[in-house]
Every structure is written in structure tokens, then in C-alpha cells.
Amino acid sequence: MMLVIMFSSVVLLFIIGSIVLVAEIYLIRAAQTQELRLLANTLSANSQQPLVLGQYSKIESLLASLLQQKNIHAAYVFDKKGVPVAEYLKQQDSQFVLQSLQNDFREKHKTFWSTSTTERQLSSKNHFSLFSPIHYEGKQIGTLYLLSDLTRLYGHLSGVAFAITLAFLLLISLSWLLAGRLQKPISIPLQQLASLMENISQAKDYSIRAEKVGHDEIGTLVDGFNRMLGQIELHQVYLAEHQIYLERIVSDRTAELRTAVTGLELASQQADAANEAKSHFLSRMTHELRTPLIGVLGMNELLQRTSLSEQQQELVETVQKSGEQLLHLISDVLDFSRIEAGKLSLELTEFELPQLLEDVVELLSPQADEKNLSLRVKIASNSCWKVRADEIRLRQILMNLIGNAIKFTSNGSITVSLNCSQSSDNSGTFVLAVADTGRGMMAEDMRQIFDVFYQTGSSGESSGAGLGLAIVKQLVDLMNGRIDLTSTPGQGSKFQVTVELILVEKPLHLQEIN
């Protein structure tokens, strides 16, 4: 702060000093011009008669009086033709005189001492000269030239500069001394206060108090600061107490939570163990069930090839049919248990997606035909890609969806569609939709349709275990896809599977078309 004040003062004084110097230059210059003009007028007046009479020695005697004028170094009187007739030269500073004469009496100034009827001035950084016409009875009879130095100007300026510099130095010195004197009552307490603030901000110790050294503004500032510290300290105490209270509550809550979590973890572990045991059991059981059932179905097929009576034939077919349903059911249970146990993983192969769709539809067409249903396929041209995906699981999804549609549609049609909603260089988003004109579902059914073992209210029409759509949902999730269901009771349902599949290439015949 002290430096800023000193710097400002110095700059201000410098500006003022510069202004004073410039003003002095103009003032002294003007005064010197006036003096030189006065001198020239006097000399001109006294030179008139001798100049007219050609008494040039008298003019020189007159000019010799310039010896008393210390600043005049040379003087010349010219007649009306511009011929110099009288001379005065000062003994000293001949170089100055020679240079000034060379400067003033250039060819371009010739009119100054020959024909000019008005006063002319010439100057340089160290000389000032005047050409003053000499008149007699209204006519110009000659010219007087006076050469002056600028000693007076520079002398005055050096005096002014001396005063300004002295003022500068005094200002700096006094400021310095004053600053030293003011440091104890002002700066030191302020510095101590600043230091205390720094300590408090670092140590966070709000019990420290600033020492008051006086009853002036700084003392008031110290009081205010100490009051502020007191309030902060009080708030700190409140905050500490509240923190302790909060910490105690948090501790209690944490203990309770820890107990609950421990219980939950234990329950979870038990549930997981139970679930694992269940899955393990189901998996093992289904596997164990499939083996004898397959044996039964094999034997039953062998039995069908034998000559049986019609009744026996019907019984055997019934056995076969029931066995196959049971096998299917067991397989579903097996798949589901494997999915839930995390043991099912996708096996990617390259295949043509439209072909898969057609194959599944063709496989299930007989069942549709049996119910006199129209099973239609709509494959969009943009979806005819060879893709890299798990063909078996996609087939399983389609089989379940189309099978369910056939199962729950009594008349009308079933439409299976495939569309590629968007594609990039490497992948495409495919939408597989199965829409039927069956009885549709209530909203309640739609919310639970993908739950395990859930079956709609008219279970008489369903012959499954309620695992198909749950498996479909699990498989779609496994493929990072989405399954949507729209359904209107009495009008039909529409299942839409959206999956992103890796594109390999377009089937050859489609490439040719493209």
C-alpha cells in the first residue's frame, strides 16, 4: 500500500513537473524572443542614420555594446542589398557561432537578410536568431541579425528541473520516513491481524484473540474481528455438539442396519443355497426324468411299429403323445433351471435369419393347418441378412411365440414378421413380431404373462407348464434384447422381440438384387 501511494505521488509529481517544464519552455522562449526583439529594435533605431550615411564603423561601435549581452554571440547589419556592412562577434564559443551562422545563412533563407520586410526567427536546440528589418522613413534600408544562445532557457529549465527533482526526492524521503513512523500504529497491527487471520485459517483455532493496541480505527477493527471470532467459536461449539448427537444417531442406525444386513445376508445366503439346491435338484431331476422318458418313448415307437389293434394303436399313440408332452415339459424345466442357474450361454453361429423364420413357420404350419388357421410370414427385404447369433435359442424363441399363438388362436390368422429397423456396418436391430387374431389378454394377464408357471385364466386351452414365455423372456434378456406385448381382449395379441444381431453379409441372392 505504501509503495502504491508513493508510486502514485511520484507519477503525479512527474506529470505536474512535466507540465511545469513545458510551460516554462514556452514562457522563457517567449520572454527571450521579446527581449531579443527589444534589443533589435533599439539597435535598429540607432543604426538607421549611420546605415543611411554609410558610416559602418559607427554601426560596429554600436554593435560592440552587445558585449554586455552575454547571450548575444554575433550580430550583423546588412544594407538593403543584403550585403553585410557591420559585424560583432563574441570571443567565446566560436564553434557555436560558426555552426549557427552556417545554419542560419543558408541559401534558402537568403530573403531573410535581403528582401524580407518582416521579422524572421530561426532556432535550433541551442541557438535562437532574429532577422529584424531596419526601416528609415517607412522604407527598409537594411537588416539586423542577432544570434543568441539558449543559455538562459536551459539555465531556467535546469533550475525548474532541479526544484522538481528535489521535490521528488523529498517526497520519496518523507514518504519513506512517514511510512516508517506510521508503521508502528498502523501497519504493524494490520500485519499482526493479517498474520493472526492466516494462523486461524490454517489451525482452525477460533479461540485465539487479536491483541488490541489502541482505541483508534484499528482498535475497532480488532474488536470487530475478535467479536467475529467469538461468534464463530460459539457456532463451532454448537456444531460440535450437534455433530456428536448426529454421530450417535448415525451410530445407532448403523448398528441396526448392520444387524439387518447381517440377517438379510444370512437369509440371502440361505435363499441362494436353497435356490441353488432347487436348481440343482431340478436340473438333476429333469435330467434323470428325461433319460427313462426317452427310453419309454423309444420303446413306445418300437411298439407302434408292431402289429397292434386299433385300440392298442390309439393307446400307444396316446402314450406317445403324452410322453412327448412330458419330455417337452421336462426340457422346458431343464432349460429354465439352466438359465436361472446361469449355466446357459449363447453359442453364436452364422445363419440366414429369414431362412430360420421360414423353417420355423414351415415346421409349425401343420399345427396351424390342423386348426384351420392362416399362418403367414412377412419378411422385409432389409432384414435379409446372414447374421451371427445363437440360432438354436432364436429358433426356441420363435417356436414358443408361434406355438403359443397357434395354441391360443381358434380362428383367424397368425402373422409372423421380420424387419430390420436400423443397421450399421457391423450390426442391425431386428424386430421379430408374432401377431395373432386370438382372444387377446387382459391387462392383468399381460403384466404376469412372462412370470414362471403363469397361465391365463382359461387354462383349459393351455397344455403347458407356464414356462415357455418365461424362457422366451429369459433368452431375450440373455441376448440383450427386449420383448414387448400388445394385446386387446377379443382381438388378438402381438409379441414383438427386438434384438441387435451381428451382421455378416446379405444372402447371395439379395446381394445380386442389390
Binding site: L3, T151, H156, A161, T165, I172
Partner: protein, 707 residues
């Protein structure tokens, strides 16, 4: 910015401020001091035995550590000149009447001054403005003024000293002098002869007699009823006035030398001639008897009768006083004026000259010529050359005279009777330019017995410069410069001519030739091996200074050329690059600078009216004037030998003055107090002080008398 940097910046700023303060303060104090002016109180007069240093406390104003003090001989009786009255013009005659002086001016008529208070004369009135008054004669209450072509004017003297113009008498020729006796006026009318007017009725003067003498009548004087008429240049006719209308010639005094003036005082006739003054007793006025002759005058131009003494203007440069009582050898007094008329009152002399006003001289303080020696020459001394205490003087009458400087008295040997203009020497050869008479060559190998070894009547020159023993350079005025091959002294051959230069002086330094020319300033040539002069450069002062200066003399030394530049003083020119000579400085010197010589970093310049100026040229860019010895009638001759300066002073011959002596120690005590220790000069006499500071100088006359 970090604190140390700030501190350093502040410290530097402060130090800069201190320096600036010091610098500005110094300039300011210097300026303030310069405005105070430079002045000196007259120190107490000291009489010191020769050989003893003088310690003088100087009090005044404007002293500094650079102030220099020098001691120079008071050649001009400056101490005795106690006052002056400014009057313009040249004065021919004066007359004392009571406490009034009537001064006859050459062009300004008659002026009446009241000298009741001798040191404060007052001009009462001017009469006959514009007239030339040659002579004043008083008879009773009337003044008879010889007014040249306007004849004679008669004025009545009123009791208050003023005049009443009574009448004018016209003469057909120049009225130069007149005398009144018994109602008749005798007028010396130049070529018109001696005129006799009957002036019983002043306003109706009547010419009664014309006496033609066959030569111009310039002066008439009366004594004991006899009229003494100066006829021509060499004769005084004595007329008896027993019949005033018809003066009767009874005797003629004839003179060998030209007769300049005469005066009668107390039955004695003093006749001033070219070489001296003759005193005739007029016990028998018809037959003057030669009583004595003083021959050691330069040229006794005018003679005046005072109350007690006879005053002679010697060559219009000094005043010589003949005591009519003891008739001892007339003392010589320089007065820095060309004395043309003198008025004597008991304690003072009033001396008027040319354009210097009226000097008031305290007779008690008058000292005889302060010069170490004065060597008279028969003619006008123009140049000199000194070798081994033998001095050769070129003068207008003797050609060359040889003076033994060791010998007592004024003996000399005339080596030539033809006009002597300039001298140049090389080894044992002395070349004498004799203007139209050609050049004479002397062998000066035998001291005191020079022999003419060659005469070149066809080679005319104003000044000369010798280049080894091979060439001689001739400065021939408007005819330019000639380079003469003098390897065969009997057959000099002109090798080169520079005809388009108005050459006034020529000098040589090595193979460079420096020519002082009237219109072109300083010209520099190279003397080539094929004996041709090749112009390298020239230099002139800038306009309008060049309109006033005339390079009259050049003196090359150590890469500089010192030019005596006529009215503009002395120029110091750097000629290290001859193609581009540069003016280093110029010192204006009053009078017309004629000659310059440089010895031991001091330049000695002679100026026609300014005397001898000694300039310290150690720093050629800032030369300092050390001393000015005011003398007059200086010609070109100048040589410094040891601690003596020899200068040629035209008809006054050669004057020898001591070289100014610088103060041994100068102790600066304050701006107002200086203490100097002055070494004793080798020559007794009254010495003046010249005190110089950077810009001004002050002379205090007659401060120390070394006895």
C-alpha cells in the same frame, strides 16, 4: 514484483534522482553564477623587487577554479589613463583657454569642453558642424580656425567659454594654419602660398598679400615679430614683419629629412622631422640657432606645446615628452591611442586621437615605454627574422637592416637600400622579398656578416616561404603564387604558377602548402614531386563572417593551421585531412589580425590596432585568451624568442616586450576571492594583470611594479 526487486528499483530510482539533482543543480548554479558577471576589484598596488614572487589577493565576483591569471607588461601606461571622454572622429588640434578646451575635429567642427573637473570633462557645445578644422589660433578674445577648403573662421570667445561666430574668410586653397598680428592675419594656404589678410575689421577681411613659395605652405608660427612659414617638406622660411602687409623673407631653415610639424615655445623653435626633433634657440629670431637634436624618433609626426613640456606624437603611436627645462632625452609613453593633439594642465594631460575620444592622463603616473627594448628602424618595419641574437628587419627604407641584439645602443647595419617587404629563411639562406625590386638572397652563415649571394630582380613577391633548399614559394598578391626552383641559386626557375588566387601569405609544412588568400580564405596545395602544386582543399568562414575576414597570414603546426584572419581574428583549422579542412575555433580579436605564430601551445597574434594577443591553444577547440598587450601600428613581423616577443611596429621599428607570465599558483578560495602567486618577470617595469574566466576577462592595469 518481489520485495527485493522493488527495493533495488527504488534504490536505483533514488540514486538516479540524486544524480539528476546534482546535474541540474550544477547547471543551475553555473547559470546563476554566470548571471552574476565577472568583476574584479582593483588590488592594492605592489612594488616588488625583481626576482621576488608577488602574492596578490584578488577580490571580485565570478571566480572559479578555471580562472586563469597572467601578468603582462603595462606597455601603454594604462594605469596613468584615469578617464576618457567619448568623442567621435579624428582631432587635428586643440587649444586650452582657462578651463575650456577647444578641439578641432577633422570632420566634426569645433567642440568645446569644460575641464573644470579634469576627470569629468563636459561637452559644452559643438560649432561649425561638419567642417574640417586643421588649426586653431587664439589672439585676445578671438579664435582663428583654419578650416581647410572653407578658409578661416573667426569666433569670439565669450566669458562662459562659449563662442560667437564672427566671420568667415574664404581662401582659394586649403587653409592649414594662421596667425594674427597687429590687425593682419597670416594664412598658410597650402599650394596657395602664404596669404596676408587685413582683418582690422573682422567681418570685412581683405586679402592684401599673396606670397607664393613654389611649394605648399603648411604652417605659420609667430615669434618676436617674425613669421616662421613651413614651405614644402624640407624648409622653414623666416619672415620679418616690420611691415605687416608685406612680410620680408630674411632666412630659410632647410632640413634633410621631411619636416612634419613645428612649434614655438618660450623663444624656442621645435621642429619635428621624419627622424627626430630639432631644437632651435630664437635668441636671434631671424637666425635660429640649432641647440639640440633628438634622433631616436620613429617618426615625429606632430608636435605640441604644453605649459611646461613639448609633446611629440611619434608616428601617431606614442607620445614623447620633451622637457623644455632640462632638455633631457624625451621619454616615450604609449597610451593605446594615436595621439594627434595634446592639452596640458598642471596635473593632467588631455590627449585626443582617432576615434578613441579624449583620454585623461594623470601626469604623475606616466611611465616611460615599458617595452624591454625598442629598436628603431629608419623606415617602416614590416617583417623581422631573428637568429642567434641577430635580427634582420625588413623595412620600407633600408630594405634589410641587421641588428645585434646583444649590443647596446641603436647601431645597425644596412644590408640593402631597397624596399623590404618580407623575409624567409632556410638554414643559412635568408630570402628578402623587396616587392617590385625582386628578391635578394643572403648567406647568413657568418654571424653579423651576411653576404648577398643572389639577386633575382624578376621575381617579385609580397611574402615568401622556403621549402628546403630546393623550392621557394612566392606570394604575389593579385598575381597569385609562384613555385620557384632554387636548387641553382643563380638561375631560379618558375616551376608552377597559381595565377587565379589573390595570395596574401604562403606557408609550408612538409609537402603541404598553405595559402592565405583574400577571397578564397585558406587554400591547401600539395607540392608534388614533379614540382607542381596540386589543390587539395580550401576553407572559408561561413557567410557573413567571410565578408569581413581576410586571411593575411598562415602558420601551420602539428596538423593545425593558424590563420590571422584580418578583422575576424584568428582561425584554428584542423588540416589532418587536407581535402576537408575543418574550423575548430575562431577567436575574434580587435583590430586587424596580421600575423600569427605558435610557440609552446601559445598562439601570438598581432593585430594592427589590437596589439599582441596571446592565446592558449592547448585545446584548439576551446582556445583561451591569456593576455592582450595593447599596442598599435603593428605590421606583420612577429617572432617569439625565449621569453621575449619581437614585433614590428612600422615606423616605430621593432618593439620587444616580455611574454606574458601565467600565475604560478592560483588558489580558489571562493567565487569572490582568489589568491595568486605571480612569478617574477625577468624584466623590470610596471605590470598589469589579466584575469580570465571561462567567458570573460578583466584587465587590471599597473598592479605590480617590479624594480
Amino acid at each position: 514484483m518481489k520485495r527485493p526487486l522493488l527495493a533495488i528499483a527504488a534504490l536505483l530510482f533514488f540514486a538516479g534522482g540524486i544524480l539528476a539533482l546534482f546535474w541540474f543543480g550544477r547547471s543551475f548554479i553555473s547559470y546563476i553564477s554566470s548571471t552574476n558577471g565577472f568583476s574584479l576589484e582593483r588590488p592594492e598596488f605592489q612594488s616588488v623587487p625583481l626576482g621576488t614572487p608577488a602574492v596578490i589577493d584578488l577580490h571580485g565576483n565570478g571566480f572559479s577554479r578555471e580562472t586563469s591569471v597572467s601578468l603582462f607588461v603595462d606597455v601603454n601606461n594604462s594605469e596613468a589613463i584615469v578617464g576618457s571622454y567619448p568623442l567621435e572622429g579624428t582631432y587635428n588640434e586643440s587649444l586650452l583657454s582657462g578651463h575650456f578646451i577647444y578641439l578641432a575635429s577633422d570632420e566634426g567642427g569645433l567642440q568645446v569642453l569644460d575641464i573644470a573637473e579634469p576627470q569629468q570633462p563636459q561637452l559644452l557645445k559643438r560649432y561649425l558642424a561638419g567642417r574640417t578644422i586643421i588649426d586653431i589660433h587664439r589672439n585676445g578674445n578671438y579664435l582663428y580656425l583654419s578650416c581647410g577648403s572653407l578658409g578661416v573662421s573667426i569666433m569670439r570667445v565669450l566669458p562662459d567659454g562659449l563662442l560667437d561666430h564672427i566671420a568667415d574668410i574664404s581662401t582659394d586653397s586649403l587653409a592649414k594654419s594662421c596667425q594674427f598680428l597687429g590687425g593682419f592675419l597670416y594664412v598658410a594656404a597650402g599650394s596657395g602660398g602664404l596669404l596676408v589678410y587685413d582683418v582690422h575689421q573682422l567681418e570685412q577681411a581683405k586679402l592684401v598679400q599673396i606670397i607664393k613659395l613654389g611649394s605648399a605652405v603648411s604652417k605659420v608660427s609667430l615669434a618676436g615679430g617674425f613669421l616662421y612659414v613651413t614651405a614644402g617638406r624640407k624648409q622653414i622660411n623666416i619672415y620679418q614683419l616690420d611691415r605687416p602687409q608685406t612680410p620680408r623673407l630674411i632666412e630659410s631653415l632647410k632640413f634633410v629629412e621631411n619636416l612634419y610639424d613645428s612649434v614655438i615655445q618660450q623663444q624656442r623653435l621645435y621642429v619635428a622631422t621624419e627622424g627626430g626633433v630639432s631644437l632651435y634657440g630664437l635668441t636671434d629670431p631671424a637666425h635660429p640657432e640649432l641647440l639640440r637634436r633628438w634622433a631616436d624618433f620613429g617618426s615625429a609626426n606632430k608636435i605640441f606645446a604644453g605649459l611646461e613640456n613639448i609633446y611629440v606624437s611619434d608616428n601617431f603611436s606614442g607620445l614623447r615628452i620633451i622637457n623644455s627645462e632640462n632638455e633631457s632625452s624625451p621619454g616615450y609613453f604609449n597610451l593605446t591611442i594615436n595621439p594627434r593633439t595634446v592639452v596640458e594642465i598642471p596635473d593632467y594631460l588631455f590627449v585626443a586621437g582617432s576615434n578613441r575620444g579624449l583620454l585623461i592622463v594623470d601626469r604623475k603616473l606616466l611611465l616611460m615605454r615599458q617595452a624591454v627594448k625598442t629598436i628603431q628602424t629608419q623606415g617602416s618595419a614590416r617583417d623581422l627574422f631573428i637568429k642567434n641574437n641577430w635580427m634582420y628587419v625588413a623595412n620600407s627604407r633600408d630594405g634589410v637592416s641587421l641588428h645585434d641584439l646583444d649590443a647596446e645602443g641603436a647601431s645597425f647595419t644596412t644590408l640593402s637600400t631597397q624596399w623590404g617587404a618580407s623575409l624567409a629563411a632556410y638554414n643559412d639562406l635568408l630570402f628578402v622579398a623587396q616587392a617590385k625590386e625582386g628578391i635578394k638572397v643572403f648567406d647568413i652563415s657568418t654571424l653579423g656578416q651576411p653576404e648577398v649571394i643572389a639577386i633575382w630582380p624578376n621575381l617579385q613577391a609580397m611574402s615568401l616561404a622556403a621549402a628546403a633548399d630546393e623550392y621557394l614559394l612566392l606570394s604575389k598578391g593579385i598575381h597569385g603564387v609562384e613555385l620557384v626552383d632554387i636548387s641553382d641559386l643563380h638561375h631560379p626557375v618558375v616551376r608552377d604558377v597559381l595565377s587565379d588566387i589573390h595570395a596574401l601569405d604562403v606557408a609550408l609544412d612538409g609537402h603541404f602548402v598553405y595559402i592565405a588568400s583574400k577571397n578564397e580564405g585558406l587554400m591547401i596545395y600539395e607540392l608534388e614531386k614533379n614540382a607542381k602544386l596540386n589543390c587539395l582543399g580550401h576553407l572559408q568562414t561561413p557567410f557573413p563572417m567571410n565578408q569581413f575576414d581576410i586571411a593575411l597570414s598562415v602558420y601551420p603546426q602539428g596538423g593545425m593551421v593558424y590563420v590571422a584572419n584580418g578583422r575576424s581574428g584568428m582561425l584554428i583549422v584542423d588540416v589532418t585531412n587536407p581535402a576537408e579542412p575543418t574550423i575548430l575555433s575562431s577567436i575574434p580579436i580587435s583590430g586587424i589580425c596580421k600575423e600569427v605564430r605558435v610557440v609552446d601551445d601559445k598562439a601570438y597574434i598581432t593585430s594592427h590596432h589590437g596589439g599582441i594577443t596571446v592565446v592558449d591553444v592547448k585545446d584548439p577547440e576551446n582556445p583561451t585568451v591569456l593576455s592582450i598587450i595593447p599596442m598599435s601600428a603593428m605590421s606583420k613581423g612577429l617572432q617569439v624568442v625565449g621569453d621575449l616577443i619581437y614585433v614590428a611596429q612600422r615606423k616605430m621599428g621593432v618593439t620587444v616586450v616580455p611574454v606574458p607570465i601565467a600565475a604560478e599558483t592560483t588558489k580558489f578560495i571562493s567565487e569572490k576571492h582568489l589568491q595568486v602567486t605571480l612569478p617574477s618577470p625577468h624584466f623590470p617595469g610596471r605590470y598589469s594583470l589579466q584575469v580570465n574566466n571561462k567567458r570573460e576577462s578583466v584587465v587590471v592595469d599597473g598592479v605590480v611594479d617590479y624594480q
